[in-house]
């Protein structure tokens, strides 16, 4: 029982990280049709920015941790907004070029991070409570898992609130469904594009700081490794569906943890198998729009 609980919470913590990356990816693809391979770089920059806050202040208390979350989110948001405004905006409807430029940016960003912070992982200290565990049904669950889960739930609620209760949220929901009709109502949908990129970048940056505490280190490859699974989550959840991304993130991460433990470390294989099954039997994903 305790093993199951531990795997479940570890999976939920990892799912929270997947969601923070996949939420932006899903909205960006749903609204703009952009397959953003640079999204992992937003996460990595956020993680390094958060790490810099901790390093420069030399403190590992809760206040600094919260500040690092803010700085990480801001760094991810700024990088994403810059990417959309400078690189992507000129390439709408040119999907091959978009793919190439985001892929190129992801490689260039890793090289840049290598140059600034080195190729070796840098280790991070958080509040002392993170190193403790909490006992749930006999399982000693590392506390940092709870932080990831709570942060992801808050981000999900904030995004849902924004999408449901603001005019820009309404524009984004409508644009995911039929972008050209939004334009044909006299709405400058490009502002929504920048906004979605920025929100997605902020969530990824936040995820980067949390990921650095979850794994205990930051490296230039951190974003890339999470991005692969975030793409899988996005496809399984349904492109453009925030709720789908949340459900799929939890399902993928929990499945991965259980398969790793009970099926001899085959977690990644089982996740890819789940992706294949979804593509075969439900190509639009769990909650995606059907074509």
């Amino acid at each position: 029982m305790s093993t199951v609980v531990l795997l479940l919470f570890t999976g939920l913590g990892l799912g929270a990280l997947y969601f923070l990356v996949a939420a932006g990816l899903s909205l960006i693809y749903g609204l703009m049709g952009v397959l953003n391979f640079a999204h992992g770089a937003f996460l990595t920059l956020g993680a390094f920015a958060g790490w810099e806050v901790a390093r420069r202040t030399g403190s590992d208390d809760w206040g600094i941790f919260l500040l690092s979350l803010l700085v990480g989110a801001a760094a991810g948001a700024a990088f994403a907004a810059f990417t959309e405004f400078v690189l992507i905006r000129r390439l709408y409807q040119r999907h091959i070029e978009q793919l190439l430029i985001t892929l190129g940016l992801s490689l260039a960003a890793v090289a840049l991070f290598d140059g600034i912070w080195g190729t070796d992982p840098v280790f991070i200290q958080g509040p002392a409570w993170f190193k403790d565990t909490t006992e749930i049904f006999g399982a000693r669950v590392p506390n940092d898992r709870f932080v990831c889960i709570i942060a992801a739930v808050l981000v999900l609620l904030a995004m849902v609130f924004f999408l449901k209760n603001t005019r820009y949220g309404m524009i984004i929901r409508a644009g995911v469904e039929n972008r050209s009709m939004v334009t044909a109502l006299g709405i400058d949908v490009r502002k929504a594009f920048t906004l979605v990129f920025t929100i997605g970048g902020a969530a990824a940056g936040l995820g980067g700081v949390l990921a650095s505490h979850y794994f205990g280190y930051v490296s230039p490859m951190l974003g890339g490794s999470l991005l692969i699974f975030a793409f899988i989550v996005t496809v399984i959840g349904g492109l453009g569906s925030l709720t789908g991304a949340a459900i799929a993130a939890v399902a993928v991460a929990v499945l991965q943890q259980f398969a790793n433990f009970y099926l001899g470390g085959t977690g990644d294989f089982v996740v890819v198998l789940a992706l294949a099954l979804v593509l075969l039997f439900r190509p639009s994903g769990l909650l995606g729009r059907t074509s």
Binding site: R167, M170, I171, R173, A174, E177, N178, S180, M181, V182, T183, A184, L185, G186, I187, D188, V189
Partner: protein, 251 residues
């Protein structure tokens, strides 16, 4: 179509060409729409009527001149063209199915003082269904949402693309009535397959064939010319036959 002494047309199209996926769908189209009444854009299926409408507002790649109320707009992006005073009612409604009726309407509001009261008077059913997801509405109700979105704002012209397509005769009559009411205050360029509706509403007619304009003139005169309608539209627009059929000849 409009003589030099007549008032300036609200819309002037000059040598409009449009392409979709590299294929030319509108070829050297020129016509004008007068500043009052309904002008029908007619033609057989696939001659480029919808493409012409989309090209006017820049939804598809095009070249040529588009002048709205004396101002050239062909270089502007779609949203700016719409904001300059064009109401667009697309073929197949294109309501946002995952947004409520109220959200669909709020999204369309671009004036400081949108004409909500007018819309509520014209479409009382939509008020009752304001919280309902637009995707769960019937085809006729979705058409009402689509028309309401265009009528919420003060426009210089409405571009209305096949508003009666796929609707029951009773709903067709309601849509025609709404368009007649709207035309009292704003000129309309109407793509319509139902010739009974065209006869009922349109004053002018522009007929396309193979992506080109092949006829312009008075709508009733055109519809009364059996040989011409047979040749250009492939159907007879005999008014007696339309009446006996109840819903009119369709292209």
């Amino acid at each position: 179509m409009t003589a030099a002494a007549e008032p300036r047309p609200i819309l002037r199209i000059e040598r409009l060409n449009a392409h979709i996926a590299g294929q030319q769908v509108v070829e050297d189209v020129s016509f004008t729409v007068p500043a009052a009444g309904i002008t029908a854009l007619l033609g057989r299926n696939g001659v480029g009527k919808t493409s012409t409408i989309k090209a006017i507002i820049g939804l598809i790649d095009r070249t040529g001149a588009v002048e709205l109320d004396g101002v050239r707009i062909e270089k502007e992006s779609t949203y700016k063209i719409i904001r300059s005073g064009v109401g667009y009612v697309p073929e197949d409604r294109e309501v946002f199915s995952k947004l409520t009726v109220a959200e669909n309407l709020r999204l369309a509001e671009r004036d400081d003082a949108p004409r909500r009261q007018l819309v509520e008077e014209l479409f009382p059913d939509l008020v009752a269904r304001s919280g309902q997801m637009a995707g769960t509405l019937s085809g006729g109700q979705q058409q009402m949402v689509s028309l309401a979105r265009a009528l919420l704002n003060t426009n210089k012209i409405l571009l209305v693309d096949e508003p009666t397509k796929g609707l029951a005769p009773k709903i067709v009559a309601e849509v025609a009535e709404t368009l007649a009411e709207a035309a009292k205050t704003v000129p309309i360029l109407l793509v319509e397959q139902n010739l009974h509706v065209v006869r009922q509403l349109a004053e002018g007619a522009v007929v396309l064939s193979g992506g080109r304009v092949v006829h312009t003139g008075d709508a009733l005169e055109f519809l009364d010319d059996a040989e011409l309608t047979q040749r250009l539209l492939g159907v007879s627009a005999d008014p007696l036959a339309e009446k006996s059929a109840g819903k009119g000849a369709a292209l």
